[in-house]
Structure formats: structure tokens, C-alpha cells
Symmetry: C2
Subunit: 154 residues, 2 copies
């Protein structure tokens, strides 16, 4: 019975360890999911300053039909143009964070509603990928954000 | 003199520590840079099996004008279509790896040479972002690869 008891205790410890490990991973990814959601909130409200502030100082926006924009001045121009053109929303699908907890990613789908040249409402559907870097103050900032359309070429 | 000596030794240790830390970061990023270069080699040679094998089993290809392709079967279809359409090359610009060493990224520019519908040689220039995950065997595999064009809408 003693041996069985020891095995049982061992299995319980292993089980608790596995649950703890899974929880750590979930909690870590929750950080970038929360950052992704907080970014969407200020982006949907078209708050330019707060939207740009989500980028790391070395961050880049990799937007279709434009060269890579690195740094807040270049990024601000692109986002301002985006705000004037239509309404963006997105939904995270996958998220992950490194074991060390300072590098992460979110990815999902976006929907961009705008008016076509004739004034008719139109929608672009696509996907995005964001690489996040944790700052020294604990906040997550965008190192890279990239998106492209799912629609066939026009 | 003794205090000065101690301060000097302290500064030297700090200096060596800073150099060692910078070297660690560089060496870590070298891993994803090498993986990026090895992938480019088999991609340029249009080796479909080896190109697809660079993806993690849960990997996704986020290609313009198509929904997210996850898993090797869906990715293989997209890459095969790419191979038949033209010649791709790319150059890494930025690379980084988490402190824990299992999550990394590469980003840079691509050039895609193809023939337009009239048969004339044409070139698309754009950018890419790849998220890499180190496997249990120590190799780096692609968790996400995404690209889009720098050119204005056609």
C-alpha cells in the first residue's frame, strides 16, 4: 500500500504540475490578448494618439500598397489615412507568448468597412499578424503589425 | 587606490557583462536568420516538399487574396501555385529571438518576378513577416508567414 500511495502522490504532483504549466501558458497569452483588445478599442474609437502609442519605439506597420513604416511619425500618417478612409474592426484568433514572457504574437481576421469611389458601402475582409514586445514597465507594445486582404485582386 | 581598483574591476565586469549580453542576443537571432536563409534556398530552388517542411505542424501562411492557410496540405497548394506563377526572392532586414530562445521573428523585403497577362516580364516588390518556433529537435519552423505588396493598387 505504501508503494501505491507513493505512486498516487507522484501522479497527483505530476497532474498539478501539468495544470500549473498549462495555466502559465494561458495566462501569458492572456497578456497579448488583452493588449490586442485594448488596441482595438482605441483604434475603433479612431483615437490617433492612443492607437500610435501602442507601437514600440522601433515598431513597424507593414501595410499593403505602402513601404514598411517604422517609427511613430510614419505610422501615424498611415493610421490617420486609414481612419479617414473607413472603419476597421478585428478579432483575434491565435495568441502566444515566449516562455521568457517578453515576446508574443496575436493573429486573426479583420473587417474594413468603407465607401467605394461611387459612394456605395463596401467591405474588405482579411487577416493580420502582430508581434508584441513587453516593455520594461510591463506593458505590451507592437513590434510589427501586418495585414492583407482575403479578397481576390480587384 | 584600493577603492579605485575595485571600481575599475567593477566597471570591467559590467563592460564584459554588457558585451556578453549583446553577443547572446546576436547569436540567438543568428538562429532565425540562418533558418530564414535556408528556407529561401529551398524556396528559390522551387523544392515544394522542403519549402512546406519549413512550416510548423500548426503553421499558417497568410497570403494576400486568399484566406488563412493552416496546415501543410493547404500551405502546399498555395506554394505550388506561387512556384508556377513566378520567381520569389527575399532579403531579411530585422530578426529577433525571445530570451527563452524558442520564439523568434524575421522581417524584410521580397521581390517576385513573373510574366503579366500579356507575357511581359513584371516585378512585384513587397515585405514579409515570419514568426518562428523552435522545435524539440532544435530546428526552427514557421508558425506564421505573411507578406504584402509595396506597390499601389492596380
Amino acid at each position: 500500500m505504501k508503494l501505491l500511495h507513493r505512486i498516487m502522490v507522484g501522479l497527483i504532483i505530476l497532474g498539478v504540475g501539468a495544470v500549473a504549466s498549462a495555466q502559465t501558458a494561458d495566462t501569458a497569452a492572456d497578456g497579448v490578448r488583452a493588449a490586442d483588445a485594448a488596441w482595438l478599442k482605441v483604434y475603433s474609437a479612431k483615437d490617433l494618439n492612443k492607437s500610435v502609442a501602442f507601437f514600440d519605439d522601433q515598431g513597424s506597420l507593414l501595410s499593403p500598397n505602402d513601404p514598411i513604416a517604422t517609427g511613430k511619425a510614419a505610422i501615424s500618417k498611415l493610421i490617420a489615412s486609414d481612419f479617414s478612409f473607413g472603419d476597421l474592426t478585428w478579432q483575434v484568433d491565435k495568441a502566444g507568448v515566449s516562455k521568457s514572457g517578453e515576446l508574443g504574437y496575436t493573429s486573426g481576421k479583420y473587417k474594413f468597412s468603407f465607401k467605394d469611389p461611387s459612394g456605395k458601402p463596401a467591405t474588405d475582409n482579411g487577416k493580420y499578424l502582430t508581434v508584441w514586445k513587453k516593455q520594461t514597465d510591463g506593458s505590451w507594445k507592437v513590434l510589427f503589425n501586418m495585414f492583407n486582404t482575403d479578397l481576390p485582386p480587384s
